[in-house]
Symmetry: C2
Subunit: 249 residues, 2 copies
DNA sequence: CGCGGATTTGAACTGAATCAATCGACGTGG
DNA sequence: CCACGTCGATTGATTCAGTTCAAATCCGCG
């Protein structure tokens, strides 16, 4: 365990697969060296808790692979996923003593962590890094607000279609040859269970399952297995998501 | 009109009522001078459009008084308010060519505007200002996610109670003597119409009206007029908002 | 082969939407 | 000064989408 973490610590940022797409992309090689000194790779299994709610902030991270859910839970047990963190997104709430929500691995996950104090120091000394993180946060805010529309105003079918469309955009495809599939087609693995999808969409498991079956029956999607989805035509899926599919007729 | 704007332009930031609570609070007196040079006061009436959707960004602003709604509208006419901007909040999406949502005055409103280019230049030259705006954005993101829980998981009654609680926290009180009212009491004016409240909560006008009547019947609130609300005990309202009021019994 | 968790499907129920009517405050014009 | 029209809000009756409760079915795994 300790041995493992040492080996991982030595892996340098220069070989990082997602280097240029993360907040680290703002750093010079020299700055990157000081970051790599404090960075440490960590792996989580699906279901592992990465950051606990209300706990003091101890680290930030870049997601290297996998999907992490940010979740809010009320005392009576109701849950709502308030954000999904994909590679190469940034994980953590800067400038806060504690963590505003639960972060749990939705799939097996690899992240590159930075201790809280060291990273905030780096932020203060490198306006370029802070700027990058700021832009990141602005985009997250845009996404959150986009999702507020989904939660507040869309029907169950539109919600499920919106979710699939989101995943199709962000999740790596399975064997994605545009030759094999059409130009507007996609094939991917769902990173969430039905229960997670329900918590993301403000629905129940049963309704999610029913709407997936509906979309399948209509030919908008194919369910290869419980988790693997093929979308023959993303434009059709999108029109289901926006509720303007009968208007076309 | 032109005369008016000149007079307003000359009013300096030093006398600004909300100076220390806005992003401007991060600036030195000298920096403030350069900001006041580009700042300009503008007034809007309830219902006026302040920033149009998808339009190129032309200005940012600090809200001096009033409430502004940020709204998303779909092609088929469904609406969702994705944020409320109170004084002394910041209005606008930095670093974006265009505006991601409609900003409309919910009440009569006064804002202090800064031209797009001048302000972003100031941002680049003053990391302290950008930092302040960043913290601001992080708080907005937290609020947005908090609201996602409301939209996704709360019942109509809980939604309406949550809304009233939010307003009670942020809206200036009417004649708020803690002697006159109890220590946990509040009295304020609703900055939104029933239609706006519905669009904020993902409900219909009728449901909002019914739930307000319910809360009134239960004694959780009093409706002085259509717009003016008295909350005898905010803790009771909060328990309605969280749905843990029958647990107390 | 059988067990346990995840998923699907069915049937009944219910909370919020929809449809419809009324009320009330306010400003305008007769 | 009062009748009228408009707009926002309330209230009632009915409908329906999504939940709840219940039972299969599927699937990975010891």
């Amino acid at each position: 365990m300790a041995h493992d973490s040492i080996r991982l610590r030595q892996s340098s940022c220069e070989t990082c697969a997602v280097r240029h797409r993360t907040v680290c992309g703002a750093l010079s090689n020299e700055e990157l060296t000081s970051l790599s000194r404090i960075g440490r790779m960590r792996k989580f299994k699906a279901g592992d808790i990465i950051l606990a709610d209300e706990e003091p902030t101890t680290f930030f991270a870049n997601v290297i692979s996998g999907v992490i859910k940010l979740e809010k839970t009320s005392v009576d047990g109701r849950q709502q996923i308030v954000g999904l963190v994909f590679a190469p997104d940034f994980l953590g709430r800067a400038y806060s003593r504690s963590n505003p929500y639960f972060a749990q691995a939705a799939t097996d996950t690899e992240i590159c962590t930075f201790p809280h104090t060291g990273f905030e120091q780096l932020l203060r000394n490198h306006p370029g890094l802070e700027h990058r993180l700021f832009e990141n946060t602005l985009n997250e805010l845009d996404s959150a607000r986009e999702w507020m529309f989904v939660l507040g105003r869309k029907s169950a079918q539109e919600k499920v279609a919106s979710f699939l469309h989101l995943i199709a955009k962000r999740q790596p495809m399975i064997g994605c040859q545009p030759i094999e599939l059409g130009a507007h087609a996609a094939r991917f693995e769902l990173p969430l269970t039905r229960a997670d999808i329900a918590d993301f969409l403000g629905l129940t498991i049963e309704t999610v399952s029913r709407q997936l079956s509906n979309l399948k029956r209509q030919g908008t999607i194919q369910l290869v297995s419980g988790r693997e989805v093929v979308v023959p035509d993303l434009r059709k899926l999108e029109s289901k998501a926006d509720g303007d599919d009968e208007a076309v007729a």
